[in-house]
């Protein structure tokens, strides 16, 4: 009987303390919560509502319709989705292929060198993205640094047309998103127990087999994390295709912007496309999550 909470003379005090703790934590989270409600949730609700309205030249008519969604699933727009998907996937794969050796090398470097190398990965973030893209434009332009260099060396006779092609988009995309792949990969590779590779070699696996059977499976989490960090923003990227790409192959981000910006405007269409993209990303995340969970679950059996 003595141990029952109600019989405890301190119980009332405990309750009061707990209540005060709860109150304090509410106060502390309130600013962030309010911020999210007003600047994230409410705008999203507006987007959702707009996606069900009828388009007008400048604005919307408040008449419910599913036209925007119907149009989203027409072949023309599906092609845009396909292009954006292909770009995001290609960017992710190239980032993985280029980023893995770099992350591996940094993770295996001596501690002193390691930090310096990491700084090199982070330095680009100190410069504004638009400025970096413009410097790529100068570099890749018809009369740009690259072409002048190659012409000067006599390797080509006529300037290459890289600017305003899909190749330029891929190049700059990989450049911009590479650090987002390297950093999570580095963090798992850094924790990898290298003696496991010794053990694998001891058991008869050569370098290639040890890599595919030990290093790669054990860096799965980093690949997932890096992949998501690259793939999701790449899917909706606007700035890079707009600044270095051409207008023949428009990506989703560009299409959405045009629907908002160009007259006649079609805000419901822009909203519907954004929400469809959101839905795809959400489904994609869920898929990854289940794949990951299944791996974990199997581990516990």
């Amino acid at each position: 009987m003595k141990n029952l909470p109600s019989a405890n003379p301190n119980y009332a005090l405990q309750l009061a303390t707990e209540r005060r703790k709860n109150f304090t934590s509410w106060i502390l989270t309130a600013p962030a919560l309010l911020w999210l409600i007003f600047f994230f949730l409410v705008p999203y609700l507006i987007v959702i509502i707009y996606s069900f309205l009828t388009a007008d030249i400048y604005d919307v008519k408040f008449e419910f319709t599913l036209d925007a969604y119907r149009q989203s699933f027409t072949p023309a727009y599906m092609h845009t989705f396909y292009l954006s998907f292909r770009l995001a996937l290609l960017t992710t794969l190239l980032c993985l292929l280029l980023g893995f050796p770099v992350a591996y090398y940094i993770a295996r470097a001596k501690d002193k060198v390691k930090n310096n190398l990491l700084i090199f990965i982070i330095i680009p973030f100190w410069t504004n993205l638009i400025i970096r893209i413009f410097s790529w434009r100068i570099f890749l332009a018809y009369n740009g640094v690259l072409n002048n260099l190659l012409l000067g060396l006599g390797l080509i006779s006529k300037p290459l047309e890289i600017m305003r092609t899909d190749l330029a988009v891929i190049l700059v995309m990989v450049y911009v998103y590479l650090p987002y792949m390297i950093l999570p990969l580095y963090s798992v590779l850094e924790k990898l127990d290298w003696t496991l590779l010794n053990a694998a070699m001891d058991l008869g696996a050569n370098e290639v087999k040890s890599f595919f059977r030990i290093t790669l499976p054990l860096s799965k989490e980093g690949i997932f994390a890096g992949g998501l960090l690259v793939f999701i923003p790449a899917l909706g990227s606007y700035l890079i295709p707009q600044l270095v790409g051409n207008q023949r192959s428009l990506y989703l981000g560009q299409v959405i912007t045009y629907k908002v910006k160009n007259i006649p405007r079609n805000w419901p269409m822009a909203s519907a496309l954004s929400l469809t993209l959101l839905l795809i990303v959400a489904l994609f995340l869920l898929l990854i999550y289940f794949l990951y969970r299944r791996g974990k679950f199997r581990k516990q059996v």
Partner: protein, 395 residues
């Protein structure tokens, strides 16, 4: 099965000589230990046999095959790593099957052999668990199974018991011996723990500073150390230095200064050819000395010394006495057996007689560089002793 030969093996890491000119041959089926303090080069030696380090000079042969330059995955040698290095993303079964899968053995054979191996190490019922779900001792067993399934010619064990607690260590030691007897493969065992090395090995090589100091069966090394280092590293001992003053047929007489201005004479059988006036060291194990307050009856081949008890340490199975003979501290282990004489009443500051048979000491043709003080002894003299040895010059 073939023997392993190390020929003039050296390894230097940017001027630091880790292993220096080691030549050795290990019989097939033998359980051979490298024993030495940390940094003595024993692990480097093992890593060279495994293929993780390339020797600076010398050769490694298994039978008649030179494996010196073969990569680890082409050697018929497997290793048990100190932290076991089990693959965390694989089950116990998959860990053990790893070697066979790499060699692309047929599936049903893999299953059969893995089951056999797991039953050898008594882990059949844990096959589907992951390494993080099993205990240290079990990981150890899996590591053994994973290595032995490849039927190596040699199994290398790098401090395999260091991560286990005492009871488990003793248990696994016996288990390792049983597994060794069951598979008949050559085991090369590396440890800094002299107890492990002594109890498990057919032969032991004592190492220090990259050199093999002494090599032989455990009892040989314990009873007949060839150097001050061997005597001191294996077990405990009293080292008494002195000058040979008499050589008889079956013993020599040595005059030992007691550090307080006078000296005493002791007799010892000998195996080296001493000359009169030569300075050498007597190694006298503490358990070989009897201690009593009553003067023993004089006998021809018994050494008798008079001393005063300075310290008594009761250790359960035996008591350690530190006895001052002049300024010399002599350690004596005495077991508590009343059938001989009652020594339980010995007290601090009490004058006692120390006596031992002259065949119970061992002569070493070497003088310790500095005399150990009693503080150093009680703090684990070996560490202090090691510090006092000069490092071999770096080439």
């Amino acid at each position: 099965m073939e023997e392993i030969r190390l020929e003039c093996l050296s390894k230097d890491f940017d001027g630091f000589v880790a292993v220096e000119n080691v030549s050795l041959s290990i019989q097939s089926g033998e359980l051979f230990s490298f024993l030495g303090p940390s940094g003595c080069g024993k692990t480097t030696l093992l890593r060279m046999i495994a293929g993780f380090e390339i020797p600076s000079t010398g050769r490694i042969l298994i039978g008649n095959t030179d494996i010196t330059d073969l990569p680890p995955y082409k050697r018929q040698v497997n290793t048990i790593f100190q932290n076991y290095s089990l693959f965390p993303h694989m089950t116990v079964f998959d860990n053990v099957a790893f070697g066979l899968r790499i060699r692309k053995s047929p599936k049903n054979e893999i299953t059969k052999r893995v089951r056999e191996m797991l039953s050898l190490v008594k882990m059949e019922d844990q096959a589907n668990k992951f390494p993080e779900q099993i205990s240290g001792g079990q990981k150890q067993r899996v590591a053994i199974a994973r290595a032995l399934i490849n039927q190596p010619k040699v199994l290398l064990l790098d401090e395999p018991l260091a991560a286990l607690d005492l009871k488990l260590r003793q248990h696994m030691l016996i288990e390792l011996m049983n597994i060794h007897d069951a598979v008949g493969i050559t085991f090369i065992y590396v440890t800094h723990d002299q107890g492990e090395a002594m109890s498990i090995s057919d032969r032991v090589a004592v190492m220090n500073y990259g050199n093999i100091i002494q090599e032989g069966p455990p009892d040989d090394i314990y009873e007949r150390p060839n150097s001050v280092f061997s005597a001191y590293f294996i077990g405990e001992t009293n080292l008494i230095s002195g000058e040979v003053i008499g050589i008889e047929d079956d013993y020599v007489q040595i005059r030992c200064p007691d550090g307080a201005g006078s000296s005493f004479n002791i007799d010892s059988t000998f195996h080296i050819q001493p000359t009169l006036g030569q300075e050498l060291t007597v190694s006298l194990r503490p358990e070989k000395i009897a201690i009593s307050r009553n003067k023993p009856r004089y006998q021809d081949d018994i050494n008798i010394l008079r001393g005063v008890i300075e310290d008594i340490l009761y250790l359960g199975s035996h008591t350690q006495y530190i006895v001052n003979v002049g300024a010399l501290k002599i350690r004596v282990f005495s077991q508590h057996k009343r059938v001989y004489f009652d020594d339980t009443a010995l007290d601090w500051e009490e004058p006692v007689w120390l006596f031992w048979h002259d065949t119970d000491s061992w002569l070493i043709n070497e003088i310790p560089e500095n005399v150990l003080t009693v503080d150093e002894i009680s703090e684990g003299g070996i560490n202090h002793y090691q510090r006092s040895i000069k490092r071999p010059a770096i080439k």
